[in-house]
Symmetry: C2
Subunit: 202 residues, 2 copies
């Protein structure tokens, strides 16, 4: 329906996650009317990101060097290791400024439906990192959903025999949320994980 | 928060219409994990579209040549001219296969709030196209909203003195829609524009 290359652009844009046919069209029309310089900048950064961005050889975090900023940072506690599913989880946790240890990015979660088992994740590399005994606590910070829980359960079973402290992030009410809108599972976990009211001054 | 070039990519993606910060992040992570070939193809088509796609010198439709496919097509009726706001409207009308005339893409609609007056649209070029008397009917197919109606009203006033037939697309109930969900204005127009029941066999 569209002139050849315009249709090509719509097709390519439509392959991006969360971009349906209508959005792809809208973005394509925007690009047609846009300043060529702006479009060039987007095209360049797409190429650049694929050329420059690699994955850290230690923790599989995104990195422009062989090792990521966090693995290179001597101030980060090497005894605490936080296992996450994806790079974006590292960013989310870093944003809290609460965690001073290091990371291990699994590259996903166990999901039999999608054909993802432990072999598809960086689990073997995790076990190798733990072999020298530097790490004393592993925090399993996988997503609080079916796949994340399955991954955490699997890893707990693998790690417990090593004599490490294995922990999970707390479940409970989101801060700023309304109790009445919390789902039953969350509310149930918040009860199960209740603490003394003077616990941390809150 | 992100490694330099990843943040650059998120920023550039976030400038696209309908792509919020969260979508930009999701697309960026998809691109990080994507096959470099796929990303290269998207970058290439972005550049190509800006290099190749021009606007038709007659009707301002999108075109890879100096004149668009429709203006070059001798089978298209040169006596009927359909004025639309944007290139995507041409595509929408072509999809109906109902219209055999030619187009004039105004490049937007009159919108005083956005500082768009008739001078910012291809109105002068429209008047020049009509000068030789070939066109006998102008269909004003602007959007059925405030800006589109204002544009149609303005153009009607400009075109009527030329002795042309000036028409608007019919307003009414969308086919396949529910009468009870139609807004009052649409339903009112559907009444005003009612036709004899045996009119076109439907």
């Amino acid at each position: 329906m569209y002139e050849g290359v315009v249709q090509d652009l719509i097709d390519e844009l439509g392959r991006l996650p969360g971009v349906g046919p209508k959005s792809a069209q809208r973005i394509a029309f925007h690009i047609l009317q846009n300043d060529p310089e702006d479009v060039k900048r987007l095209a360049d950064v797409l190429i650049e990101v694929k050329e420059k961005v690699k994955f850290c050889s230690i923790c599989f975090n995104v990195s422009e060097d062989a090792q990521c900023r966090i693995c290179r940072d001597p101030r980060r506690d090497p005894t605490v290791l936080c296992c996450v599913e994806e790079y974006k989880d590292v960013v989310a946790i870093e944003r809290t400024r609460e965690f001073k240890g290091r990371y291990h990015v699994l590259g996903g979660a166990i999901s039999p439906i999608d054909g993802i088992g432990p072999e598809q994740l960086h689990v073997r590399e995790l076990m190798m990192r733990l072999a020298d005994g530097t790490v004393t606590e592993v925090i399993l910070a996988t997503d609080p959903n079916l796949e994340g829980e399955a991954t955490a359960t699997y890893l707990t079973r693998m790690l417990k025999p090593l004599g490490l402290r294995v922990t999970r992030l707390a479940s409970g009410l989101p801060v700023g949320g309304d109790l009445e809108y919390a789902d039953e599972v969350t509310l149930g976990r918040a009860f199960a994980g209740r603490r003394a009211a003077d616990d941390a001054g809150s």
